[in-house]
Amino acid sequence: MRWSIAHFLPHAQMTFLVEAYAFFYQLADSFAFLVLCGLGLAIIFGMMGVINLAHGEFIMCGAYVTVLSARAGLPLPFAMLCGTLAAGLVGLILEFLIIRRLYHRLFDSIVATWALSLIATQGMLIVAGPSIEGLKTPFGSFELGEYSFSVYRALLPLIALLLLGALYWLFVRTRFGIYSRATIQDADMARALGANTRRIYSQTFTLGAALAGLTGALYAPTITAVPTMGQAFIVQSFVTVVVSGADVMLGLAPSAAVLAFIQSLLAKSYGQLIGQIGLLMTVIIVVRVLPKGISGWVLQRNGGR
């Protein structure tokens, strides 16, 4: 699939537009990656206060199941659904067996999820070997001026936005969402209002795990599936969530946008190293200036405390 608008516009304007789009594509690409990295973690960390160091391994789980079921003959969208559900299921089981014992023990959740990540990484290596054959990125590419772009990657930011919209709907409009936000604000009060807080925690964790799985599924066609792949996501995930702050709905999209802008600009101007370092420095500064993240800042401005 190829098309080109090169002959519709005069050269100078064309070049400018192409450069502008190239930067925008970069920004959107980075934005999508950060949003998708952060989503599952934001829900588990931001809403439940569990520091999930096994987040990367949920992503890995989603990617593996997607790749394996696609290679077994399932169409890609269904394979991705399988990956998402598989990660969610694993999350559900782990919540039942382990995580629910650690809800009021923030620090212990670090050790437990670290242990889970060790087991998952090495277990996958033993079960599935050091690598599995990857997938091909669907949809081909399109050209603009001297650049060509992957269609699939150009779509990822839209998918990220759609997901954010769906989550907004889930948390603002549905009974589950309202109860879960109430539970996070004040578990005792929510219980008094008739919410089954235990079930809500379980559902929230499962949702977080499934979203991590979805991230893995969406990126599965673009990266190599190896047991240690989770590490490629974990730092970006935490960075996005910290800058976002506790309220996923308010903070995640602006946080990803700001970080994507900073990273893209630095990487474009000074190379990938400065892009990476700049990302981490931004976090340090944001934490200092806005200790509760972007969402905390928004809430404060709107009259909360």
């Binding site: 404060q300 401005r301 709107n302 009259g303 909360g304 405390r305």
Partner: protein
Amino acid sequence: MATILQTRGLKKYFGGLRAINGVDLVIEEGELRCLIGPNGAGKSTLFKLILGSYPPSAGAILFKGDDITTLQPHLRVQRGMSIKFQVPGIFLQLPVEQNLRIALQRPHRGAALDQALERLLELIDLGHQRSELAANLSHGQQQWLEIAMAVALQPAMLLLDEPTAGMSPEETFKTGELVKKLNASGMTIVVIEHDMAFVRQIAKRVTVLHFGEVFDDGSLDKIVRNEDVVRIYLGKV
């Protein structure tokens, strides 16, 4: 009598919410003052401003004649203020004795510390539970422990935020006697309280806060006769 605490045009806004909206309060040395007012009147916020937990949006705070408006909280405490919080602020996972030692170790040392510790334990009647974790005490006992910690600093001015919340009438009465005893020993005390029986037991002078402003001020009898005060408690003003 000299003035120990004075606030001038004190204001605190949270976003659009005017929690404290221009309070001028004067507390004399040796006074026992009650602050009353319906929920959300700004009583606890006023205490936090006095102690420096929040910076005020406007106005000034004078303590013993010095402007302390921008002073850090721990320095205000070192100048002779002390507070018992609304929600018990004790060290739950530490034993009773250690709670008190932490409070006592700044003003005292060595044998004097041990003596002061015994006096405090006697004062709040927790000598037999000194090695119990504070978390295992009853709610009333936790309140007393915190009062004792606040008193341990030998403050010139003691702020008590709802000291009798969750106490039985008997405990409340004992607390009232304790407060009067402390005041009699020369300590200036400001109390936030809802329990009118308690206020009657201890107070010489009462200040009513409403919507972050001083609504009325005077002896308890005068306040009780003010029909508007009764009305704000019923939510009609």
